[in-house]
Amino acid sequence: MEQFREKLKLENRITAVLCVILMVFSVLGFAAEAGLVELTPVTGDGRWQSMWRGMVSGASFGVLVLMVIGLIRSIRALKDEKKLKKLYIEANDERQIQIWTNARATSMQVTLLLGLVAGLVIGYFHMAIGVTILAVESIHAFIGFAFKIYYSKKL
């Protein structure tokens, strides 16, 4: 439980730093949209850049809100033994760990297959995009295989 407490404290520090970074992204994005800050040079009519900036700012803000909620929950748990124990059980519950392990393994297989098919089909229409997708999927498969070898030796 002490190890979990220390791990939680470290996670809280990292989360706090990430929150600050996300806040900067969000604020810059909103400020740029409001015309208060000039960020990247505009190409064309700037419509796509504006849309991209808006999307990134909005997503950053959404993620920031979720991270702040998680951070508050962690800080409260560190002050209350009962809440800390509950958090510890939730984080180490074997059934949840197995669910996530199975979900990640299946999603890796599915995304690999879908990416392969997408790369092959899109390659007929736009070769550069098709090759990029196939390259990404190859790296994905290679990394997956590398971890398989690693865990085969470890376990």
């Binding site: 059980i89 939730e90 519950d93 074997e94 059934r95 949840q96």
Partner: protein, 67 residues
């Protein structure tokens, strides 16, 4: 895997939440084990059996493994 957990728990008038707290797991895991959807790991099976003061074989039904 079939178990006697529900029967043992009710005999002691315990809720799933109370049993989960006692053995260090979640209520959802206890529910899944009781209905046979999830098979507990050896450490968890040991904790549950020990909580009831019984052996693992007295709590968990291993007959399907022998078939």
């Amino acid at each position: 895997m079939k178990t006697r957990i529900r029967e043992l728990r009710k005999a002691r008038k315990l809720s799933q939440e109370e049993l989960a707290d006692a053995v260090g797991t979640t209520r959802q895991t206890i529910t899944s084990i009781e209905v046979g959807k999830y098979t507990a790991s050896l450490p968890l099976a040991y904790k549950i059996a020990r909580f009831f003061g019984l052996t693992i074989e007295e709590v968990f039904d291993f007959s399907e493994l022998e078939d």
